[in-house]
Symmetry: C2
Subunit: 211 residues, 2 copies
DNA sequence: TGTACATCAGTGAACGCGCGTTCACTGATGTAC
DNA sequence: TGTACATCAGTGAACGCGCGTTCACTGATGTAC
């Protein structure tokens, strides 16, 4: 399972610790995330992380930043693929968001849950979160041009779209959506239906649901 | 601050513990919520709670249930006041939700954050959460009749409205909404604007903002 | 009204646990000459 | 190429902490007679 380190020095301990943290979140949940557990997973003494992170908050901030970067990259990719179809960009970007949340709920939660308290101390986090929001605003503007989304200040409409998606996945993760609704349709259909209450979308062909 | 108990027996320790828990959430946050802290706040030995709660989960479930009841009652009240005006019902119910979240964020989070894992064990929680959702569905139906909300299965549209509000408050609480948007308008205006992307609402007079 | 007794709610000591953090240390690495 | 030394990353023991939970107990309460 855990291969022996060849040398005294690890080489890339910082990134290894971040990866281990994400892994622990996925497999054991947020309660199990600690500097000690992360160190143990990498096979290093429990004090070693302090060479790379000032404290636990700093590790969490790094994990959050990584999560936002994952989102940013994935949305950038789908936006590029559907360059000329804003409605599609909107749906696929939303789907990216939902997929992240469902595939890796604990990482998603840490990323989006404001665990980064003193943002000032973590400029990388602030930067990628700003970039991500700007990306959404762009998609919203393109949608507005084609009357897919209602008029209004683009950043405000972006907040609306984001809220809708964030609320949907939060309620899903927190098990609050009634079974009667849940059992009636797959998540992707629910996403499109919900988004369709706000945006003018073409109906999806029932079999085109990606993964 | 803490008055001496007159007698050995407390009389209503169970409810006192729940109230103390809510108080701790408000004043010290979720991290400080423990059976021990709750017992201490009430002025009782740390083992006393076990006479009333099987374990920590049971206390949390009780606090969650209390939170949902607060929501349920408040929404029922505003729905009654605006009996003949579904759009208003919608806005005020949403406002109730947002107010709860902003006034008592930690209690709100515990209530809505699926901390009640094995719902089966807490039927009171399940019941009040179902009742609350049904209430929203009713308001949604009334809104649909007046074309305030789009057509579609009422429970699905209710999920949409709920998601929108839940996402908005979650992002607010988690400090994710960009300052540029935040600084431009009060929360209530943001709520109405966001809800307005999904519902056909009359514009609010700028000075009618309740508390 | 008085007494015996069962029931119940709260006590306080004790358990083992994992945590964040500090500290003096040591092994490995790289650089100057 | 070889040696001295500064730097750096990781070690392992130790600290104090608050937690959930158990357990034998005891003080208060209520009921039967």
């Amino acid at each position: 399972m855990k291969r022996k380190r060849r040398s005294y020095h690890h080489g890339d301990l910082k990134n290894a610790l971040i990866a281990a943290g994400i892994d622990i979140l996925a497999k054991e949940g947020a309660g199990a995330l600690s500097l000690r557990s992360v160190a143990q997973k990498v096979g290093v003494s429990h004090a070693a992380p302090y060479a790379h992170f000032a404290d636990k908050q700093a590790l969490i901030a790094a994990i959050s930043t990584e999560g936002y970067e994952r989102l940013y990259e994935a949305i950038r990719a789908v936006a590029a693929v559907h360059q000329r179809d804003p409605a599609r960009q909107l749906v696929e970007a939303a789907w990216v968001y939902v997929k992240f949340a469902l595939d890796d709920p604990e990482h998603f939660k840490v990323t989006l849950s404001g665990v980064v308290e003193r943002e000032k101390d973590y400029p990388a986090f602030v930067e990628v979160s700003k970039k991500s929001f700007a990306q959404v605003v762009e998609i919203v503007q393109a949608c507005q041009k084609k009357a897919v989304l209602p008029k209004g200040a683009p950043d405000l409409v972006a907040v609306g779209v984001w809220s809708l998606m964030h609320g949907l996945v939060s309620l899903l993760l927190e098990n609050q959506i009634p079974r009667s609704v849940l059992d009636r349709m797959p998540v992707r259909t629910m996403l499109v239906a919900t988004l369709g209450q706000m945006a003018r979308l073409d109906p999806e062909p029932p079999c085109a649901t990606p993964s």
